[in-house]
């Protein structure tokens, strides 16, 4: 497949090689993050007028799900403020390598070198999301917890252990980054093979060894590449490229498919459906149950939520994969189950985009008063404090969502077909999976478009 190396464009490489542009953006993001914690703790408890809720769960979420992930993949990870304080302490520097940092530098345990902890962390946050997304103080506590866990992880383990193995957000960004039209790859693997120092992994005076513990020479998928471009800085042979590529290219690579990632796909797809029902649906009882954390109703909600994403959805998918197997066996192999689960990556991403379209455009007008009065203290910094709530694109949204969902179904179906071919099967093997995707899309259309 064709690729275009963006670093061949004027200014791109100097901008990426210099640490300052990235550092400035990271610092601004860190400032916003700390201000969000501050606002959540001392600002108004009214969520839609507090910077922490409006900027984190509406503005940032819109940026992440509608722009960053679909286009830049893990682009957000390259400017994410959460690991920065820990990383800077670990390195002993905020910019270029110098001296020694702090920390024990332990290796991350082998048994935990997967994304199961990220799956658990996301699920945990998702169970409390009705409260987290609406109460500024809870948002502040969750954000602060992210910051401290990342700090602790940096001081105990080597490199970005938090991002790679713990971050609840990083897990799904990594999964969905496989569909992004951008990738960081080496230009010639032979150059890497011949390069004995492997400075892209060990670091040198120009940059740090890959914080994500990835050897760029072996990169075939975006999943665990944080796009921090340290390898671009440290490669002495100018062998690292930022490629523009066909979207979804990683999905067709059979290597590196794993059960933890497959379950991440179920968790994300199931959560998109559950969120659509809880946050956008007309069922007050479900909303109340999701909100009343600790009550019997909430435990019931949590049980159904967990059963849906870990049991019902994977169970139905397993059934679909089984139906696609040859009648003689009807026993799906582990490989087939995991491989076909990657068809849920485009389906899940488009489900989240469709959900986010509703969520974001219905609430983004809260941005204007929150800009002028971020703490709800009666300020009017930019004269927009009095701007009332207005849902945007209300008439166009259902059509837009339907297009996105149907596009996702087509993409998922094509992926299923190609995975079936790769597994030496035919359309018969892919068909039940396509039917599964069709049913999920119908469900989402019902929930989101009505």
């Amino acid at each position: 497949m064709t690729r275009f190396d963006l670093t061949t464009l004027p200014l791109v490489k100097p901008l990426l090689k210099s640490r300052w542009p990235q550092f400035v953006i990271q610092s601004i993001a860190l400032g916003g993050f700390i201000f969000a914690i501050f606002a959540g703790l001392v600002g108004t408890p009214v969520g839609n007028h507090n910077f922490s809720i409006v900027f984190v769960w509406i503005a940032w979420w819109a940026l992440l799900m509608l722009v960053a992930v679909p286009i830049f993949g893990r682009g957000w990870c390259s400017i994410c403020p959460i690991p920065l304080p820990g990383e800077w302490l670990q390195r002993g520097a905020a910019l270029a390598p110098q001296g020694h940092g702090l920390g024990l530098g332990w290796r991350w345990p082998n048994r935990l070198r997967n994304i199961w902890l990220q799956n658990g962390a996301f699920t945990l946050v998702a169970l409390f999301s009705a409260v987290v997304l609406t109460q500024p103080s809870v948002t502040a506590i969750v954000l602060a917890a992210f910051l401290f866990v990342a700090l602790g992880a940096s001081l105990i383990f080597e490199r970005r252990a938090f991002c790679r193995y713990l971050c609840p957000v990083g897990g799904f960004i990594g999964l969905y980054s496989q569909v992004a039209p951008l990738e960081v790859r080496v230009k010639d693997t032979a150059v890497c093979a011949a390069h004995t120092e492997k400075t892209c992994y060990t670091g040198n005076a120009d940059g740090y060894g890959c914080p994500w513990q990835v050897f760029p020479g072996g990169l075939v998928k975006n999943t665990y590449c944080g796009t921090c471009v340290e390898c671009l800085r440290t490669c002495p042979h100018d062998n690292v490229a930022i490629n523009l590529r066909p979207p979804g290219a990683d999905l067709l690579r059979p290597t590196g498919r794993k059960l933890d990632e497959a379950f991440k796909a179920f968790i994300m797809l199931g959560s998109a459906m559950a969120y659509s029902a809880v946050m956008l649906g007309p069922w007050g009882g479900i909303k109340s149950a999701a909100y009343s954390v600790g009550s019997v109703a909430w435990f019931g909600y949590a049980l159904v939520f967990l059963a849906f994403i870990f049991g019902i959805l994977p169970g139905l998918f397993l059934l679909a994969v089984s139906l696609g197997e040859l009648p003689a066996s009807r026993r799906p192999t582990r490989k087939a189950f995991i491989s076909f689960a990657y068809t849920l990556v485009p389906l899940g991403l488009t489900a989240w985009i469709a959900f986010s379209l509703s969520f974001v455009f219905a609430n983004i007008s809260y941005l204007w008063p929150a800009l002028s009065d971020p703490l709800g203290w009666g300020w009017n910094l930019f004269g927009t404090a009095g701007v009332g709530w207005t849902p945007y694109l209300a008439n166009a949204l259902p059509t837009l969502q339907a297009i996105v969902l149907i596009g996702g179904l087509i993409w998922a179906s094509a992926t299923a077909r190609q995975i079936a071919v790769e597994l030496k099967g035919g359309l018969q093997q892919a068909l039940p999976v396509i039917v599964f995707c069709f049913a999920v899309t119908l469900g989402l259309l019902w929930l989101l478009v009505g």
Binding site: S27, F38, T44, H49, L95, Q98, P369, G376, W377, G378
Partner: protein, 331 residues
């Protein structure tokens, strides 16, 4: 080279610290420098007004920034004709009050924000040396020595709703004393019915026609304008418990009636079902002065708020007049 790197690193650290800590610090400094008094509103169960007690000197403007932390609240001064100010959640609304007389003023929430809405009150202590020229008269129920907690069941009641219009059409020339405001306010409808029934001018009338005369007497002591104003007051302040039709079936009635209701811990377990103004036995045995007392003093733990510091005397009497519309037909 090394020195240059150190300088760059130092600049980077200053930059990031400036951004990360600068915003919160700037916000805190701006807040400390702001001298406007912030009056925050939360539903009563979550604390009500904060602060609850304010002080200001006579003639000195009291600038308040009203902010609701949860639901829509309203702000108004008790015993004042000033308009209520809505306080939407998360938004700041500023108002300036200036008092020309010393004293203690009550401010309260004007929006039904929760079951404990009526408890959302606070005071403004206005200090000053200006002599208060008004001489307070005790309310009529006090002057009359009424026990407003005593039972007041009517000795007699009509078969249907008495009609003031029918009463007027009877053409009976009532003695003037029955039509005075003092007489009306001091007697219950049942007492007036008994007095009229005993009069020589009513010997030809049926019992229900005498009730129509009572309704006529009651209507003679109010005006359509008063009733219209009182209807608004009733809807804003009374209907949540007593119901729009006066039947004691407002949205908050269940919580007051049901001892097992979760809000009872807030109310104190002594609450009662709100009075049913459509109940003739109960209403026709009460005088307007008695109802005035109940409104002013409240129900002392029963859940009926004390409205004395909130309503003006005119408003209280207007409300009393309006309550009789649940018994008598005025049109």
């Amino acid at each position: 080279m090394v020195a240059s790197r150190l300088n760059t690193e130092f600049a980077a650290r200053v930059f990031v610290l400036g951004i990360a800590l600068g915003l919160p610090l700037a916000a805190l400094i701006a807040r400390l420098a702001d001298k406007t008094i912030e009056l925050r509103a939360r539903v009563a169960e979550a604390g009500g007004w904060t602060p609850t007690d304010l002080t200001v000197a006579v003639g000195q403007p009291l600038i308040l920034r009203l902010i609701s932390d949860d639901v829509l609240h309203g702000f108004a001064l008790g015993q004042s004709d000033g308009p209520a100010i809505d306080v939407p959640p998360g938004q700041a609304v500023e108002t300036t009050l200036t008092f020309d007389r010393p004293g203690k003023y009550v401010f309260y929430c004007t929006r039904w924000c929760g079951l404990g809405h009526w408890r959302m009150r606070g005071t403004i202590e206005v200090a000053g040396t200006t002599a208060d020229s008004t001489t307070g008269q005790p309310p009529l129920y006090v002057t009359l020595g009424l026990n407003i907690d005593a039972l007041h069941e009517a000795a007699v009641t009509p078969k249907g709703a008495p009609s003031a219009t029918r009463g007027a059409q009877l053409g009976v020339a009532l003695p003037a004393n029955y039509l005075t405001q003092d007489y009306y306010r001091a007697h219950s409808p049942a007492e007036v019915w008994q007095a009229l029934r005993a009069g020589s001018f009513s010997t030809e009338l049926t019992d229900d026609e005498v009730w129509d005369l009572v309704a006529f007497v009651w209507r003679s002591n109010t005006t359509p304008e008063t009733l219209a104003e009182a209807k608004t007051l009733y809807a804003q302040n009374c209907a949540a418990c007593h119901g729009e039709t006066g039947a004691g079936d407002g949205i908050a009635a269940a919580a007051l009636r049901d001892k097992a209701h979760e809000a009872q811990t807030e109310f104190g377990h002594l609450t009662q079902a709100p009075a049913d103004f459509t109940n003739a036995d109960h209403m026709l045995g009460a005088s307007p002065a008695l109802l005035q007392g109940k409104i002013i003093r409240g129900g002392m733990g029963t859940g009926m708020p004390y409205w004395g510091p909130i309503f003006t005397e005119v408003q209280t009497w207007a409300l009393v007049d309006y309550l009789w519309t649940f018994q008598f037909e005025y049109k």
